[in-house]
Amino acid sequence: MSATVTAPAGGPAPGTTAGSTPVQNVTFWRVLRSEWIKLWTLRSTWWTLASTVVVIVGFALMMALIVQLVGNEMEGAAPEDQAAMGGMLGGTMVVSAGFEMAALVVAVLGALMITGEYSTGMIRSTFAAVPGRLSAFFGKAVVLALVTAVLITVSLALSWLVTYPLLNSNDATVDFGDSAQVRSLFGTVLYVVLVALFALGLGALLRHTAGAIFTVVAIFLVIPTIVQIATFAASQLEWVGTVNKLLPSVAGAQITPNAGAFPDVLDPWVGISVLAGYTVLVLAGAAARLKLQDA
């Protein structure tokens, strides 16, 4: 006990606790406010959010430089070849190039929101205040989804801004009049939000930070890489292609500008629904474990 902390030795001053404190019912709105405060009062939040912006803008700049290089190379080539190139490396693709890495960073934030409470014991304070438990969990989910959506939207806007000069000189800017392009950017936001929620659910299921992050990386990075090698190495095997197109990352990415080139893929909206389905499953499993097991 530090000497600087001194207690009133005679006990509390009279009247300080005597029924004068306004205490309201617990509502979902109040739980949301609590989760909002919790999110912004941790340094890890600021670190992960800053990293996400850096990843998205950094990847976009890198891709914009590649567009510039390719543009220089193709100086004097036939106009139809140049047009084809612009289609391959379009503005939306450049702006959102880092979305998969960004999703993994936001996944760390999502997992930490709940595993950080288990590892420190905070979860007991949380559930003592909100004994229904589910509203605390879904409060976290809503805050996470909201913050991620705004974060990714802002990051994409920043990417667009910093790459605009390079892309403009190569006729590869985002065309906001093209509904397909706007949809693909909206889809990028949606994809990252779903991955973040997926990680939150895994965190609540596993109650372990490293375990949850490792599992997210395995599902969204390691397993897809292995399956994709298999699709090229054994393209005659139909089931490999089926597995590939149903992977959370591959299915979900179809709506984004960076879907990857596979012979067999789902329709963008079907794909993102498949990812949403996986996320709902994980969240439901997490909710069941929260509700039924001891904290």
């Binding site: 306004p22 609590s34 420190t120 304070s125 004994p131 001891d294």
Partner: protein, 317 residues
């Protein structure tokens, strides 16, 4: 008021709490006394719904904890000092807790002041000593101005001034008509703070009575007698319904008699006495004898000595 009926908690084949039934009344401090591993914490966690009972029920102010619309106004619980995110400051932790019940910032600053946390309120909890963590836990428990307080080992890690402060605040809150339920593994602590005591051992309630009654009932009067004719004296004492234990050759411990009676009997029988000492057992011994069969982690020799245990407690602070 806290009412437990047949409350049971099993972890696999191990029974932590074994069908306990008790009522904790408002307006007094109720001590919850038992050795480590006796089931105190598990019982307290079940009261606030963190652990699900395997069987039985427990209600707080007439309802299960989770059925209350404003749980923090019903029960303030200090379950363990480390139920706080280490990366958050003390004040932010309290603000986040307060937000769930719409408790104003003014109240947060009030409990910070009340618990003497002001100098460290804006420091991150990770760097807190055990004592500061304990104060923060008590601050969180007081946040909703609750009718019932549950404090699990509240003086653990506190310096003497902090211990005194916890005793005073527990008594003060009870005097306001609140229910105060406070656990400890130290009989002396409970004797100083509580009006009523529940003794638990191996998951069962061993005693449920006013503190004074437990102390009187368990306090065994003992007379130590040293005599070269110990065997002869023992026979005579036994004939008078006294309980006699031979501690070592020539030394007896006599219960159910007094020093005067033993002395007179010896004189009458012409038995030589080398020592005749009345020994009053301590509270700690009374508690030890009550829980002797139900200690989960039995230690050998010195560690069983009550003084040693409190010394260890003290040095942690």
């Amino acid at each position: 008021m806290i009412e437990a009926r047949g409350l049971t908690k099993r972890y696999g084949s191990k029974t932590a709490v074994d069908g306990v039934t008790f009522t904790v009344q408002p307006g007094q401090v109720t001590g919850f006394l038992g050795p480590n591993g006796a089931g105190k914490s598990t019982t307290m966690r079940m009261i606030v719904g963190l652990d699900r009972p395997t069987a039985g029920t427990v209600t707080v102010n007439g309802k299960p904890y989770a059925a209350h619309r404003r749980p923090l106004a019903e029960v303030g619980a200090l379950l363990d000092a480390k139920a706080v995110h280490t990366g958050r400051t003390a004040r932010n932790h309290l603000l986040a807790m307060a937000a769930t019940h719409g408790i104003p910032t003014k109240r947060v600053d009030e409990v910070i002041e009340l618990t003497g946390l002001r100098p460290v309120a804006t420091k991150r909890v990770g760097g807190f000593s055990l004592g500061m963590g304990q104060r923060l836990g008590i601050a969180a428990a007081l946040l909703g101005d609750p009718r019932t307080l549950i404090l699990d080992e509240p003086v653990n890690g506190l310096d003497p001034e902090g211990v005194l402060w916890v005793r005073n605040i527990a008594k003060y809150l009870a005097s306001e008509g609140r229910t105060v339920f406070l656990s400890s593994h130290l009989m002396s602590e409970v004797a100083l703070t509580a009006d009523h005591v529940l003794v638990i051992g191996k998951g069962r309630i061993l005693a449920d009575a006013p503190v004074s009654e437990i102390v009187d009932g368990a306090e065994r009067k003992l007379v130590r007698v040293r005599s070269p004719q110990a065997t002869e004296l023992a026979e005579l004492l036994k004939a008078q319904d006294a309980q006699v234990d031979g501690v070592e050759p020539g030394l007896l411990e006599v219960r159910g008699s007094t020093a005067a009676a033993v002395g007179e009997l010896a004189a009458l029988s012409r038995i030589v006495l080398h020592e005749l000492t009345p020994v009053a057992s301590t509270l700690e011994e009374a508690y030890m004898s009550l829980t002797a069969d139900s200690v989960e982690y039995q230690s050998e020799g010195i560690a069983g000595h009550a003084g040693t245990q409190s010394d260890l407690e003290g040095s942690k602070a």
